[in-house]
């Protein structure tokens, strides 16, 4: 069965997928939900596939509770994240580090560490151009959960602070600090990796 034929009316003339608006509003977001799922599960493709399937199944079953006119992508991301958290629980996975442990770690980084290293070693844009996409995504996947989901929703998927507040169920201040720290961790990880790979040379200290 092709994707097109699944969407066209069946012999009785009824649409194959009967809930109004679902095909037009929810299904176009499959790519974004897949990308989000893949980062939630840190690049494990088969887990991401299960997550996308269960997200859209839940979305279809609950389509009546979606408020038309609100951002459907935020609604789908919320479902996806809840499914992810539930699956983690079933697998008995616990967060490997607590947020406060990570914070202590982040605090030890200087506020603008990477920027100042990079801008003296190398023009900053050339620094970013030295990475291939897979290296960036691996670095994102290595971020602890609270920072990874904030950075993915904001920086990879382009969602706003209010949308992050809604999806992550934390106050705006927490969204801002997770983004701030997550970005700092990511930039530091990329910088360390770039040093290791020889993309940049360590700044000479005199």
């Amino acid at each position: 069965m092709s994707a097109a034929s699944t969407l066209s009316p069946d012999r009785s003339g009824e649409p194959a997928i009967s809930k109004p608006g679902f095909v037009e509003e929810a299904l176009p977001h499959m790519d974004a939900v897949y990308r989000f799922a893949l980062r939630l599960v840190r690049g494990r493709e088969s887990e991401a596939e299960d997550l996308v399937q269960s997200t859209f199944l839940r979305a279809y079953r609950s389509w009546e509770s979606y408020t038309p006119g609100t951002k459907v992508l935020s609604w789908l991301f919320t479902i996806c994240r809840n499914q992810f958290l539930r699956a983690e629980e079933r697998r008995g996975r616990r967060p490997e580090v607590t947020e406060s442990e990570v914070e202590a770690n982040v605090e030890s980084l200087a506020a603008t560490a990477v920027f100042s290293e990079v801008s003296s070693a190398d023009p900053e844009k050339a620094f970013f151009d030295s990475f291939v996409d897979e290296e960036v995504l691996r670095a994102v996947d290595a971020l602890p959960d609270p920072y990874r989901e904030a950075v993915v929703l904001s920086d990879l998927e382009g969602l706003s602070y209010p949308e992050l507040v809604e999806i992550l169920q934390v106050p705006t201040g927490t969204v801002k600090s997770r983004l701030f720290r997550g970005r700092r961790l990511l930039q530091q990880a990329l910088y360390d990796y770039a040093l290791e790979m020889g993309y940049v040379r360590p700044r000479s200290r005199i």
Binding site: A3, Y34, R35, E49, R61, T112, F128, F131, D155
Partner: protein
């Protein structure tokens, strides 16, 4: 702009992500902008953060595998059939 409206670098840096993310309140936006226009220290930092955002956004552009797209359709169709034929 009068002297008292000027803001120091550390305050600009503290609000810089909000500015870059386009989430800053309007009156503060103008003051950050005015500062960035004339500050040799803060502007490159702003530029770096913009470059970072363009860079991660570019890295994220993956599409769902065609086979999975198909399986999602099929899962929903299966659910639809369950809705139509009430179990006896």
């Amino acid at each position: 702009m009068s002297e008292c409206e000027k803001i120091p670098c550390d305050q600009v840096i503290a609000k810089l992500w909000e500015y870059v993310d386009d989430e800053i309140v309007e009156d503060r936006r103008e003051r950050v902008e005015a500062h960035l226009d004339i500050c040799a220290r803060c502007f490159p930092e702003y530029d770096f953060r913009r470059a970072y955002l363009r860079f991660v956004q570019r890295a994220s552009g993956q599409c769902i595998p065609p086979g999975l797209r198909q399986r999602v359709f099929e899962t929903i169709l299966q659910e639809e059939r369950k809705l139509r034929v009430p179990e006896s």
